[in-house]
């Protein structure tokens, strides 16, 4: 039987607590410190996690650098999400909207000095070719990750996932080309194409309409016993997971943002067919030592 994926998530390291802003405020600054976050990720791996899913950011890059120096018993699978939408929104706000953001991205791509990437970027701008520009940007993110990961001891870049905001906007706007471009590029660089979505049933319907196969596609989507953020309904999401056969579905929000306990969450996910992994964030050593052994023993 294939090993199930148990990913440690990075939400707590960015101060996220979906169930309560009070809880976010109560957390001391320690959790937001990259060094401490790296210790938590390492501890989570020691206790049973076999991968790390995170949004690309200076904090998570620093975590990768730190955990890259540790020799783990097994390989650690990395499932990065890109782009960093919060950073994009901030940059767009500071640089005068979308045109300013585009210039900022172009500048970053240009400074990486990869000829093929530069070629794609220039082609994208000159010929108004969004696909070429998108690929140049993905390659830029890939190279940034690759540079850090290659220095690490047991880190394996497994997939690169398109962030939920981009995935869900593109799904809604029928941007089939973006999904195909991402899949093509990922397969070219021998990674699994990945997508994070909060609208799995719609995602599956669009893929069927566009005749894109699910084989080896990584999908991160919310699954929890109370149906929190499972849109439009829990039943629809469960059905969609069954339909997307061949894909690697990773359930996140399994604790419904702290609303349900781990045993209840695992029992629910175990009942579902088509779920090959789960992602959970932890904010303390105690949580890591309690959460991951329990998941490893029961999932």
């Amino acid at each position: 039987m294939k090993n199930k994926l148990i990913l440690v998530g990075d939400n707590p390291f960015h101060g996220v607590s979906h169930v309560s802003r009070d809880r976010s405020l109560q957390r001391d600054g320690k959790i937001l410190d990259a060094k401490h976050a790296a210790e938590l990720v390492a501890l989570s791996i020691k206790y049973g996690a076999n991968g790390f899913t995170f949004t690309v950011s200076p904090t998570t890059f620093s975590i990768l650098q730190d955990i890259g120096n540790i020799k783990f018993a097994n390989n650690v699978a990395l499932y990065p999400l890109f782009p960093n939408v919060n950073e994009f929104v901030r940059t767009a706000g500071a640089a005068g909207g979308l045109p300013g953001l585009a210039k900022d991205i172009a500048k970053k791509i240009a400074t990486t000095m990869d000829t093929q990437m530069l070629g794609n970027g220039i082609k994208g701008v000159i010929y108004n070719n969004p696909e070429a520009l998108f690929k140049a940007y993905v390659k830029y993110e890939y190279l940034r990750l690759h540079r850090i990961i290659k220095q690490g001891k047991n880190l394996t870049l497994t997939s690169m996932l398109l962030h939920e905001v981009v995935t869900d906007m593109a799904l809604a706007l029928d941007m089939q080309w973006l999904f195909r471009a991402h899949i093509d590029l990922m397969r070219y660089i021998k990674l699994k194409p990945g997508f994070e979505t909060r609208n799995l049933p719609y995602f599956v319907r669009q893929f069927e309409k566009w005749r894109i196969g699910f084989d080896n596609i990584v999908i991160e989507a919310p699954f929890n016993p109370i149906g929190f953020q499972m849109c439009p309904s829990q039943a629809d999401c469960e059905q969609a997971a069954q339909t997307a056969q061949g894909s690697e579905i990773i359930a996140f929000s399994i604790l419904a943002a702290g609303y349900v306990k781990i045993p209840q969450a695992i029992e629910y996910v175990n009942r579902l067919s088509g779920i090959s992994g789960i992602g959970v964030g932890v904010s303390s050593e105690k949580q890591a030592s309690e959460t991951f052994p329990m998941i490893k023993g029961n999932f």
């Binding site: 070719n129 809604a172 849109c231």
Partner: protein
């Protein structure tokens, strides 16, 4: 906001985005290649002849008045959704409302105060209406973010119109929606940036029933990863309600407290993007367009918010002049 609403409207049943207006040349050209089946134009006038059911105005606030006027003058469509606030200043908002009054158009006119479509605030409003019959003692509406906590650059502050227009207007609208129309009383404290943008303000208001309350807004507050809008209401009998984007807590006059999180309130929507409130807002707006039933907040309701923002801004300016 344009991309967000376009995405959501495109998945609302029976609704399709057919055209987009984008003036920036670079974005315009890319939009043509990115959005399949969508006509991309660079002038509002080019919307004519497309037989549009509605236009959603999601441009910077300072451009709202000219765009709304052009749409109405050129009879481009009968229904309008405008992102909050209604216009860049109260005079423009008032002129828009005057146009609606004299022409009857747009038939459905709604302003995007999305907190009205949040299940937690809907529950809070329901509790205020059902549980506070003994009389409200005081209330506080607030809007806090850390957007400019350490920022020194004034350009962005000014382009966003100050905290009151950018974020505080949500607190004003939410409080008025839950407690009835508000009238301005006095500014307690305020903080203004070197370039003249309001960074923080705390001012007194009075509800229609003569109850005194406070509105607070700041975009320099600590520890707000995301902006937070909220409401606190207290009764003469010891009841207390607190609500924010995530949960509503109600303490009865016996001291028993009950909490409802989003999880408890049926928060799921057909599609989720940027939370569930925006989908609910767009879906209910499209339903209003289909049925012809008005959807709050209308332009007239939103004008009340702009009037309060205007008088608070003028009071702060006056205080500065006097100093």
């Amino acid at each position: 906001m344009g991309l967000l609403h376009a995405s959501l409207l495109n998945v609302v049943p029976d609704c399709r985005v057919v055209a987009v207006c984008e003036k920036n040349r670079l974005i315009h050209h890319f939009a043509q290649n990115i959005l399949p089946g969508v006509k991309v134009v660079s002038e509002i006038a080019e919307f004519s002849g497309l037989k549009l059911d509605t236009v959603c105005v999601t441009t910077p606030t300072s451009t709202h008045y000219a765009i709304i006027k052009a749409i109405l003058d050129q009879k481009i469509c009968c229904n309008l959704f405008v992102e909050k606030p209604l216009a860049g200043n109260v005079e423009h908002s008032a002129r828009i409302c005057e146009l609606v009054k004299t022409t009857g158009y747009p038939v459905i006119n709604t302003v995007g105060y999305n907190r009205r479509f949040n299940v937690v605030f809907r529950k809070a409003r329901e509790l205020i209406q059902s549980e506070f019959n003994g009389g409200i003692r005081n209330f506080e509406g607030y809007a806090f973010s850390s957007d400019f906590l350490d920022a020194v650059d004034d350009t962005r502050r000014i382009s966003r119109g100050g905290v009151l227009r950018d974020l505080g207007c949500h607190a004003i609208d939410l409080t008025a929606w839950c407690l009835g129309d508000l009238t301005y009383q006095a500014v307690n404290t305020s903080q203004v940036s070197a370039g003249g943008a309001i960074d923080a303000v705390d001012f007194k208001v009075q509800s229609r029933n003569g109850i005194n309350g406070t509105i607070k807004a700041s975009w320099c507050a600590s520890n707000y990863r995301l902006p937070e809008i909220g409401l606190v209401v207290e009764s003469h009998q010891g009841q207390r309600l607190t609500a924010n984007d995530d949960k509503v807590e109600f303490r009865d006059n016996q001291g028993n407290t009950r909490t409802w999180h989003k999880h408890d309130l049926g928060d799921n929507t057909y599609y989720m993007l940027g939370g569930t409130d925006y989908y609910r807002e767009d879906a209910e707006y499209i339903n209003a367009v289909k049925t012809g039933q008005p959807l709050e907040p209308t332009f007239a309701t939103a004008l009340n918010v702009d009037k309060i923002v205007d008088v608070v801004e003028k009071s702060i300016l006056k205080q500065i002049d006097e100093k």
